[in-house]
């Protein structure tokens, strides 16, 4: 029976629809679902309370200044210090990962596996609460900035190391050969010839990592920080509690977006430029 269906416009599925009919039903179904959700939202949610709680215009003046001068500033400090550390450590680990020495490769591989596989939150907790017990009397510099920078740096280094490795491997072999044929040592060729090219190649993914880190800096919340060193999320939370209103949450979120959306746009621009140059 089905093998006699020679003149059919297309194969029929078990439901008996042609592919075109199936597509129509699919699109129609999506519209029905969307409308249903919209109706539910409109009828079931108290919009006035939502507006007062989340989008309270009166809160703006009270919350913005502190969000910016304390929250955003601290978040940027945490992010930049963590990123710098992660960048340098990541570079080192990437080079170790490609080392001629097997022990170096094993150590680098182990590092990457551990810090990519463990939640960043756990790293924060270990550094903030585990380390002081293990090393009494000693402290990471500029508390809590040292702890945060180290935690973010350790975690992001693992990701950046893999990115750097890909970048290094994308530099043609002939570049190293040319450098070595001029008498450069292997480390000299790496530093002067390979790394500058590799880093250029990985600027887009590294910028992406910056965005991720910018958001991950909110994990400082877990290690109990004071008002002066609070990041965006913490300030948002404090202000929300203080005013018994959720507008600070929304404003904190908007402040994150203020940074992440342009950065994301920048990444896409850089990626497009590289794709064109290739």
């Amino acid at each position: 029976m089905s093998n006699t269906a020679k003149a059919e416009p297309g194969p029929r599925s078990r439901t008996g629809f042609t592919p075109r009919q199936r597509r129509k039903v699919g699109i129609g179904g999506q519209y029905v679902a969307l409308v249903a959700v919209a109706i539910l939202a409109i009828t079931m949610v108290d919009w006035e309370r939502i507006q007062v709680n989340f989008f309270n215009v009166d809160m703006l003046g009270e919350v913005w200044p502190e969000l910016f001068t304390v929250g955003l500033v601290n978040t940027v400090i945490y992010t930049v210090s963590g990123y710098t550390l992660g960048f340098l450590l990541g570079l080192l680990i990437a080079v170790m990962r490609l080392s001629a020495l097997r022990l170096n490769r094993i150590l680098a591989h182990g590092y990457i596996e551990i810090f990519r596989g463990v939640p960043a939150l756990l790293v924060f907790l270990i550094l903030a609460f585990g380390l002081p017990i293990a090393m009494p009397g000693r402290e990471l510099p500029f508390p809590p900035f040292g702890t945060v920078a180290l935690a973010l740096g350790l975690v992001s280094a693992a990701y950046m190391a893999e990115t750097f490795r890909a970048g290094i491997q994308a530099v043609p072999k002939g570049q190293v050969e040319a450098a070595r044929s001029l008498g450069m040592s292997a480390p000299r060729a790496m530093i002067t010839i390979v790394l500058p090219q590799a880093i250029r190649i990985v600027i887009p993914p590294l910028t992406n990592e910056l965005i991720l880190l910018f958001k991950d800096s909110s994990l400082v919340f877990a290690i109990g920080i004071t008002a002066g060193t609070a990041d965006l999320s913490k300030i948002g939370n404090d202000l929300a509690t203080e005013h018994s209103n959720s507008t600070p949450f929304v404003l904190a979120g908007l402040t994150y977006l203020l940074i992440t959306i342009p950065l994301g746009y920048l990444v896409r621009r850089l990626e497009a430029r590289q794709a064109k140059a290739r």
């Binding site: 043609p172 002939g174 570049q175 050969e177 040319a178 450098a179 070595r180 044929s181 001029l182 008498g183 450069m184 040592s185 000299r188 002067t192 010839i193 500058p196 090219q197 250029r200």
Partner: protein
């Protein structure tokens, strides 16, 4: 080049096709040995690429290595400065045994210039920096002197006006001449050319070959892997024909290209010189 150790200018030797050397192995030019290759074997895994090569190149001599692809000629050249580690045998350049385990390869390579098929210019550096980088980082020449040397060298190969450009803006012929200038700036005693014109558009080949001919006439010792039979005929003191990882025959250009003794050489030359008739 100022360092002319050539007892007799290369031009005379090239013009003098009817010399009294025998057509086969045992060619013994006069003068100090610049390169001695003894019993060279090279394998990549199970693949034996070089099966016992003995070559001596005298100071000031220009030797062209020809042969079908896969004959091992590029590998031979890359073994001379140990870009490829020989599986067995000995390489001596300018009195230094490079295959010695405690040989300072980086130091030895300073005096061995190499020009690659794909140019291998450093794309992140401009033309001038391409030439100065090894002077600065390897020979520790001061910036002003390095730039002066580089400008002179670039001018001598006819790309002096391109000093501030980046390699990507140059034609293949210009890039290859910059690569030659980059190698010559190190004041090498030996120049290795690995199919220097094979990646060039036909109309750009002449510029590069002219530079190479001038270099040969200045007395530079040159080992050239090439498919340019015209160049080999005109410029080489000696031509080596390789096939299957061994030297099949060698002699003056007149002997090897003009009157080959071996069937394999004849077949190869016929294919190269008359690619479309049978």
């Amino acid at each position: 080049m100022s360092e002319n150790q050539n007892p007799e200018p290369a031009t005379e030797a090239a013009a003098e096709h009817e010399s009294e050397v025998p057509a086969e192995h045992g060619y013994e030019p006069a003068g100090r040995a610049m390169v001695s290759i003894r019993g060279l074997h090279k394998s990549f895994g199970d693949l034996q690429v070089l099966k016992g090569i003995d070559v001596e190149v005298k100071a000031g001599e220009v030797v062209c290595v020809i042969g079908p692809s896969g004959s091992g000629k590029s590998t031979l050249l890359r073994c001379v400065n140990l870009l490829e580690q020989p599986s067995a045998g000995e390489i001596e350049v300018d009195g230094v045994v490079l295959t010695d385990r405690d040989c300072d390869l980086d130091r030895a390579r300073r005096r061995i210039g190499m020009v690659f098929q794909q140019f291998n210019l450093f794309p992140h550096l401009n033309v001038l920096e391409n030439v100065t980088v090894a002077l600065r980082k390897v020979l520790k020449v001061d910036k002003a002197t390095a730039r002066k040397t580089a400008r002179e060298q670039l001018a001598s190969v006819g790309v002096g006006e391109k000093a501030e450009e980046f390699p990507a803006r140059l034609s293949g012929g210009q890039q290859q001449r910059v690569a030659i200038a980059r190698a010559l700036a190190m004041k090498p005693h030996l120049m290795l050319f690995d199919e220097p014109t094979s990646a060039l558009d036909p109309e750009l080949v002449g510029d590069v070959l002219t530079v190479m001919r001038d270099l040969a006439e200045s007395g530079m010792t040159m080992l050239v892997v090439t498919h340019e039979m015209g160049f080999a005929r005109e410029v080489a003191d000696r031509v080596i024909f390789m096939d299957g990882g061994v030297i099949v025959e060698q002699g003056t250009p007149a002997q090897v290209i003009g009157d080959p003794q071996h069937e394999r050489t004849r077949t190869f030359l016929h294919r190269v010189l008359h690619p479309i008739d049978d």
